[in-house]
């Protein structure tokens, strides 16, 4: 296993009261070499925090517990220079909005070269060449010209490509993509996803794709994990989960995907996302679950069924 | 959190003391205008807690009447400049077009001129007096408020509830007054508090140099003039009026900071 996360818990401090709130309540997943995993959930489910927790990019006062095993060592305890050596080099992350992810005052090529200098110890000239090469690899037409440009001079699609180049240039083993296409036009979404797929396959980088869009994710990844209220409530091979969802929440998410057929009503998941400061006792999905029963007052136990996992009493 | 209320408490407290002393002080202390040449330049004592000045007048009493002046200045300037700024800014932001361009050009021009020089030239031409100082300050300090109000108006103008009001056919005046301005409440309050503090500073400065409130009317500023003259002989003449100005201005600024604190979290909560 390239990456193995076991029982990851995360507490964040609320800015007003300073009281810690548990936002990840025991998340576990695994990623094989060159594999792909999709993490799907509503906003507030903890999916973004899962990604940030891997590399410890958390706000002041945050606390983690559990195991994050990269290769053969647990990186959860790493601090300072040690965790910085992991960021970008072993685990890379790209974010949602290409417009704001690049420093507007620094040339694009330089921002890529910066990573190369930091992690691969390359000199100025060598790193600059490497940056141009990577810009070419992500399908940019005039890589050396583009490297000299500033971010505002590039189109949205080109910027996202540059960001992908920046993330992958040091050959990380895992790429975490947090909603990489949400801020893009539909036409660009496909291009970017294809690019990510292509580049990571050539360097055998594993992918964690985080999104709220189940339909989108299901086309890109081998395994999928559905998150709700800080826990993984269902996981398994994508095809199996989509074809036969076990958890009521997953089923609702699937039903909410528009069928694009005339006459079919649009469904949504009823109710509101949970408030982490006031979670119900037992199964956190109980208030919104059509199958809720008395048994659900007890916290459900993860049940392993072959390659699949589900946490629900009503399966 | 104690932090949140901190600014308010201290600012409000001192402001309350200021207002109270200005209103009631003169009744409790000696006559500020009565010279007593046998009691000139006395150091602070029980009889005269802040000493006496070069004409034997009780400094504390003069501080109290000076306080009235300063408060009057603060209130008048805020009303005048603030009112002018709100109206002009609202009109400019709501209607836009040529009126807006013209007003903004005027603001630009006025911002290029150093305030003190502008005030100075105006005061020299129409003569120094309390009324003139307030008038001049009012006519030159409206630009900040106008800019603020205009900016808010520009953004609020496009918001749904305004569009809804316009679609319902409400007259512009009503829309501005009932729907838009209340949202600006805190912004206007913050700007007003800052204006008040600055007004007191500028008026005292002018009075200090003899270009503002003329003696024998006591303004904290012109109390400092004699303080300056007798600097080495009578430290209390400069100390107490200065402290008074300092406390008054600081309390307005603290109040403004406290109001800003209310504004900020509300803004951030939305993100």
């Amino acid at each position: 296993m390239t990456l193995s996360v076991r029982n990851l818990r995360l507490w964040l401090r609320s800015p007003e009261t300073g009281v810690p709130v548990e936002v990840l309540r025991g998340v576990s997943f695994e990623l094989g070499e060159g594999g792909s995993l999709g993490i799907v959930g509503e906003s507030g489910s903890g999916k973004t925090m899962s990604g940030l927790s891997l590399i410890g990019l958390l706000p002041e006062g945050a606390r983690r517990e559990g195991e994050i095993i990269l290769g053969d060592r647990d990186i959860i305890g790493l601090r300072g220079d040690d965790i910085r050596a992991v960021r970008g080099k072993s685990i890379a992350m790209i974010f949602q909005d290409p417009a704001t992810a690049l420093n507007p005052l620094i040339r694009v090529g330089e921002q890529i070269a910066e990573s190369l200098r930091t992690h691969e110890g390359k000199g100025q000239a060598e790193a600059a060449r490497g940056a141009v090469e990577w810009l070419g690899r992500v399908g940019i037409d005039d890589p050396s010209g583009t490297a000299q440009k500033y971010p505002h001079q590039l189109s949205g699609g080109m910027r996202q490509r540059a960001i992908i180049a920046m993330a992958l240039c040091c050959g990380p083993r895992v790429l975490v993509a947090d909603e990489p296409t949400t801020a893009l036009d539909v036409s660009l979404q496909r291009q970017v996803l294809d690019l990510i797929g292509e580049v990571r396959r050539s360097s055998n980088t594993a992918l964690i794709l985080v999104s709220h869009d189940l339909a989108l994710v299901s086309n890109e990844v081998e395994r999928i994990a559905i998150m709700y209220a800080g826990r993984v409530v269902e996981a398994g091979p994508t095809a199996e989960v989509v074809a036969g969802a076990l958890h009521p929440y997953t089923r609702m998410l699937l039903k909410a995907v528009p069928a694009w057929k005339r006459g079919e009503p649009l469904e949504s998941v009823p109710g509101a996302p949970p408030d982490f400061a006031a979670l119900p006792a037992g199964c956190s999905f109980r208030p919104r679950c059509p199958l809720a029963s008395d048994k659900c007052r007890q916290e459900p136990v993860p049940e392993q069924r072959g390659p699949r996992m589900v946490e629900c009493w009503n399966v | 959190m104690t932090g949140r209320k901190f600014w308010f408490i201290w600012g409000g407290l001192f402001l309350a003391i200021l207002v109270a002393s200005a209103l009631f002080g003169p009744f409790l202390s000696a006559d500020p205008a009565k010279p007593d040449l046998y009691a000139r330049l006395l150091a602070p004592s029980f009889a005269h807690p802040c000493g006496t000045d070069e004409l034997g007048r009780d400094v504390l009493a003069r501080l109290f009447s000076g306080g009235r002046i300063s408060l009057a200045v603060a209130v008048s300037v805020v009303l005048l400049a603030g009112g002018l700024g709100i109206i002009l800014g609202a009109v400019s932001g709501y209607w836009g077009g040529r009126l807006d361009s013209f007003l903004m050009r005027t603001v630009d021009v006025m911002n290029c001129v150093p305030t003190y020089f502008l005030i100075l030239s105006l005061v020299v031409i129409i003569g120094p007096s309390l009324f003139n100082v307030v008038l001049v300050l009012g006519l030159t300090s409206w630009t900040g408020m106008a800019r603020l109000v205009r900016a808010e108006l520009l953004s609020l103008r496009e918001r749904e509830f305004v569009l809804a009001a316009r679609a319902a056919g409400l007259p512009a005046r009503r829309i501005i007054a009932r729907h838009i301005l209340p949202n600006l409440g805190t912004t206007i309050l913050v700007a007003s508090a800052l204006l008040a503090g600055d007004a007191i500073l500028i008026e005292s400065g002018l009075s200090f140099l003899g270009l503002g409130v003329q003696p024998p009317v006591a303004s904290w500023g012109n109390l400092l003039t004699s303080g300056h003259e007798y600097l080495q002989l009578a430290w209390w003449l400069i100390f107490f009026p200065g402290v008074a100005i300092f406390l008054a201005v600081a309390s307005f600024n603290f109040l403004a900071e406290g109001l800003r604190d209310i504004l900020d979290p509300r803004m951030r909560a939305g993100s």
């Binding site: 890379a92 930091t118 189109s155 | 901190f6 911002n111 100075l120 503090g197 270009l211 400092l224 900071e257």
Partner: protein, 315 residues
Amino acid sequence: MLPLLLGISLLSFAIIHLSPGGFLETQVQMSQKISPASIERLRTLYGLDQPIHVRYWRWLKRLAVLDLGNSFTDGRPVRDAIAAALPATLLLQGISLIIVLLISIPLGGLQALRHGSTFDRSVLAGTLLTYSTPTFWLGPVLMLVLGVNLGLLPVSGFQSPNYAELSFLGRFLDRASHLALPAGVMVIRDLAFFTRYMRGSLLEVIRQEYITVARAKGLDERTVLFRHAMRNALLPFITILGMSLPGLLGGGFIIETIFAWPGMGRLAYTAATGFDYPVIMGILLMSSFLTILGNLLADVMYAVVDPRIRYGGTR
């Protein structure tokens, strides 16, 4: 820029004619300092016997060649008086500005990094207090304590009487010691604004996504701060400096008067008390002109430094 200049000329023209009742008549009533000869000079200068548009045109023509008339008190051309006073003001302002920036940039920056801490609050409170302190109180108090009682620093003037006889180092120290008090008071007053601005600017920059990305790339905090954050945070300072020019030029007025510093501010004071209209108007116009110049300079510098302006974008 041209409309601004025109606007200023209009404004000052209007001011001159502002006096209720006849312009000159009121002055004669108010002060005996104006002799009939001065009144005649004023009449010619402002062409008060001509219709208003003619007056304005003549006024403009004079301004264009910087003919600001002659001083009432000593008959010197206003232009010369201002030219003589300007360097002193620039020296004082310049030194104060440099010192203020040297203090407030690190201070404000540190506040931003320790946002919400006791340090942040204390500095905020401290700068609010210094802002509320009247310069005409602080100045004399410091004069008394440091200048008179302790005899450490000279309390007034530009240079000592024996300046010409001092060695180079002696002259430098003499200048510096005369600058110390007035510049010190100025610094204390201006500290609040710039520190606050720096704090706000850096806070805003830190929240930007490209800073998170920089950290995710594994860069160390120093690089993130100085290479990415500071550059972006300092950029708006150029504009801010331009905007604070009028305040700097005019605000020194009280300080210059108290410390008998022979600059524009003191000139304005003596002119005001002496009802020397040409001088006051001249100062008004010159300082406004300098401000416009300064803003222009700031705009140019901004265009040079900000690549978003230097090269237009595709956006």
